[in-house]
Amino acid sequence: MLGDLGMASLDDLFAHVPPGIKLQQPLPFDPGKSEFDVLEWFSGMAKRNLAARRDLVIFAGGGAYDHDISAAARSLGSQGAFVTAYTPYQPEVSQGVLEAVFEYQTMVARIFGTDVANASLYDGAAALVEAVNLAVGVTGRNRVLVSGGINPAYLETLATFGAGRSLTLEIAVTNNREATEWEAAAGAAAAVVVGYPNYFGTIEDLSQARAVADSLGALLVVVADPIALAMLEAPGSLGADIVVGEGQALGIPLSFGGPYLGLFGASSRYLRHIPGRLVGETVDADGRVAFVTTLRTREQDIRREKATSNVCTNQTLMAIQAAIHLSWLGKSGFREVSRKCYNSAHYLASLLESLGLTVTSAPFFREFVVELPVPAQKVRDRLLGQGFLAGLGLKGRPNHLLLTATEVHTREEIDSFSDLIAKEI
């Protein structure tokens, strides 16, 4: 092939690269390895991590939950046709991805109770950032009132990206049942942001949040746990303008925090301001139903510096996997899993209360805060050695633990966990 180009060596291809900057030494890496050697290295690494079920019973959530994932979702979601395709820019040969995403959008919109949903964002935190950006864009304001019950990592992400747009974030503190205290706020704002249930597990009163938003002329942005929404009233029905959330619980492995799935639903009022891709239905030249990415003029590749968002690559594969897993759960299974999470968490809370501990979150759904008479960090460390991930610590509250339980936990596991906690207090 070099000969066809009239060249003698591969180096000739780079003759126009200024010699002064060319790399003189080889890359300082080991020579290539066989796939078996690479796999062995990674399996060495994997052994030095504590894995759910294999090594640990996990009572930690905080936006990442240990759920059972159907074999169907695992295998259908990993088909090469989905995994090795690009963004469906050529719909004639991308109907598989497009139709699956259309189904995903429908499921998210129904769970959230919103008119529409997009084709996915990076994760829950990114979805929140985009929601606030939308609100800032449509209101032309940059003040945002945020509940202190939001996932602190999301809050930090919002603050990081908010720096670019000079957002002012005002935090509303939470009270002794871990619910937001909306001070009598005044002045105009772009958005009011609240969790549902919030990070501490408490089911917030959305009608109150809606009232606050109305009083500030702000959009109501709700950060929701989709598993809870199988049973709880949809935020969209309770007045949310935008609903976002983390979709990991919908059939995505724990994966050390990623790739996850940013869920984004909104009222169709904001249709032309929605970030990310949208798949819509249309027909082909023969009149057959078909799907296509639509309203593309919002997107960065067309609108450039005036785009509603800079998102390009998103989390399509996770969206497809979630659509498959949600279809596997189905109407009744989704509700049953949700109910089982509720049961497990409440059963665990009741055991801890019977040890004399106080559960502060109320009412909660599947995650809650418990106060210990000893440092939470010590308890977590001790239980890790005994095969339990004993929840998450809470910043600035050294004696509190954030716990969750799901449909994977057996009564026996919950009982043992509670027994071990009893020994620590």
């Binding site: 126009h16 963004t87 989390q315």
Partner: protein, 503 residues
């Protein structure tokens, strides 16, 4: 006994192998009462619901009701209606659609990789921390940088992160410049990220050779310039030969230079952004390092920076602690986290496995062959298509259908759609914006010479066909699962959910 629609759920068995049969949506296949679900027997007692009675949904969410059998058939049929790298060549410019080696799927599937909760304490994630730490060192060595955050989950997220680092740098010096320079050939994410970072995008026109001219740039550079964003090779597939001078100019006003790593596949082991003078570099691991694109994601867009910027990086970074173990570390002046957890961790692991598989020599060879393939393919089709920039290209090149359009009325889009009929994926069209009727072609190093020859043959054939039969190209594709779509209709009255469809 005539049989018509006796049951809800419509026609369930479509015919993917004969093509052009529509697949009903999963909602159309749904039948009340059916379910694929079965749940673990945990013996946890049913807990009374009264505490949350007031918050309950009146009706269950209308998720599909299908058997596992119908579920599997549906998503198998959908997969059979999708083109992918696994099936054949995917010369989509700017996207680096290379083959994704299979063993990486096994890395991703290991219990101790995919089953780890991100809230696990440091002593339970020593393996993950080492993966992060080794990957960071690989990325720094490849880009010529000092430290890197692995958090950004895609290229665009990396851009915004990088621009916020730029901001933090200027702030730390008490400065507040407002402009970021971007060539007119830049990818749309660049200007969009600039805006989101609170900067103003200033367009740098390309010269007649497709490159940024130092002289032209000089007019735009002043104290208000926060920095410049470039890819090199640029989106025309051309190496900016005056890159050193360009970046010196920007540095002369204390501007920073951002490298959009989307085109890194051209230069690994050959030349490093750091050595060109860049200060901030994102890499698209889903392009250069073969993590699969997933139909549009997930990706990973780590951002590596020069020493002077390391103190601003988002936490958490994997670093050696006092006791020799690895732990999380947050730089003192960190701009703060840019992901809910630590980034697309499993994608990061896949990318590292690919780097180890190829090794130092193999990574260099990868880029050499990517450039060879692009140049060879370009030379094969240059008698049939106008090549606006004729110099040696890097890993991709841009052809133009402008002459074909002028003569026969056949557009770049028609060529692209016709190529699908030939059994290939289409190239990128109408990007970069600076080339009329652009066909942006990136074969990647993983396509074999015979695939390139077949692709060239098809492209040449289509150019010939345009002469006598423009209507054939205008009507293509004909034998794909669907034909050209009415995109205007989709945008006019958007139908984005099943409910909007039926409602």
């Amino acid at each position: 006994m005539p049989v018509k629609g006796v049951f809800a759920g419509g026609r369930a068995s479509s015919a993917p192998l004969v093509g052009q049969a529509s697949e009903p949506t999963i909602f159309e296949l749904s039948v009340p009462g059916r379910s694929a679900y079965s749940g673990r027997n945990t013996e946890v007692p049913e807990w009374p619901i009264d505490a949350i009675e007031a918050h309950l949904r009146p009706e269950a969410v209308e998720l599909p009701e299908v058997s596992e059998r119908d579920l599997v058939a549906h998503f198998t049929r959908l997969a059979s209606r999708n083109y992918s790298v696994d099936l054949g060549a995917y010369p989509l410019g700017s996207c680096t659609m290379k083959y994704n080696p299979r063993f990486a799927d096994q890395v991703a599937a290991m219990d101790g990789i995919s089953g780890v909760h991100p809230g696990t304490p440091e002593n339970g994630i020593q393996g993950w921390l080492e993966i992060f730490s080794v990957l960071e060192s690989y990325i720094c060595a490849i880009t010529g940088m000092a430290a890197a955050t692995l958090q950004p989950p895609a290229g665009a997220a990396g851009e915004l992160t990088g621009l916020l680092l730029m901001r933090a740098y200027h702030r730390s010096k008490g400065r507040n410049p407002q402009k970021v320079l971007i060539p007119d050939s830049a990818h749309g994410t660049n200007p969009a990220s600039v805006t989101l970072a609170g900067y103003n995008a200033v367009t740098v026109p390309s010269g007649p050779d497709g490159l940024v001219s130092v002289d032209g740039l000089r007019q735009l550079v002043d104290e208000d310039v926060a920095g410049i964003m470039l890819t090199n090779p640029n989106t025309l597939g051309l190496f900016e030969t005056e890159i050193v001078e360009i970046l010196e100019l920007v540095h002369s006003v204390d501007g920073l230079a951002y490298y959009d790593g989307a085109n890194l596949n051209a230069i690994v082991g050959i030349v490093r952004p750091g050595d060109m003078g860049f200060d901030i570099v994102h890499s698209n691991l889903h392009k250069t390092f073969a993590t699969p694109h997933g139909g549009g994601g997930p990706g990973a867009g780590p951002v590596a920076v020069a020493e002077k910027l390391a103190r601003f990086l988002p936490g958490s970074l994997a670093r050696v602690a006092a006791d020799g173990s690895l732990g999380w570390f947050v730089p003192e002046e960190s701009i703060g986290r840019v992901h809910g957890f630590y980034g697309n961790a499993v994608v990061l692991a896949r990318a590292l496995s690919f780097m180890q598989y190829l090794g130092g020599d193999g990574l260099k060879r990868m880029s050499e062959l990517a450039v060879l393939n692009a140049n060879w393919l370009k030379s094969r089709i240059e008698d049939s298509y106008f090549i606006p920039y004729g110099q040696v290209c890097m890993h991709e090149f841009v052809a133009s259908a402008a002459n074909i359009k002028k003569q026969w009325g056949v557009r770049a889009l028609d060529i692209a759609k016709s190529l699908m009929e030939e059994g290939f994926h289409a190239p990128t069209v109408y990007f970069p914006l600076v080339v009329e009727e652009a066909l942006m072609i990136e074969p990647t190093e993983t396509e074999s010479p015979q695939t390139l020859a077949a692709l060239a043959e098809s492209l040449i054939h289509l150019a010939e066909l345009a002469e006598g039969n423009p209507e054939v190209l205008a009507a293509a594709p004909a034998r794909t699962p669907v034909r050209r779509l009415d995109e205007a209709r989709a945008a006019r009255k958007p139908i984005l959910t099943e409910d909007q469809r039926t409602g």
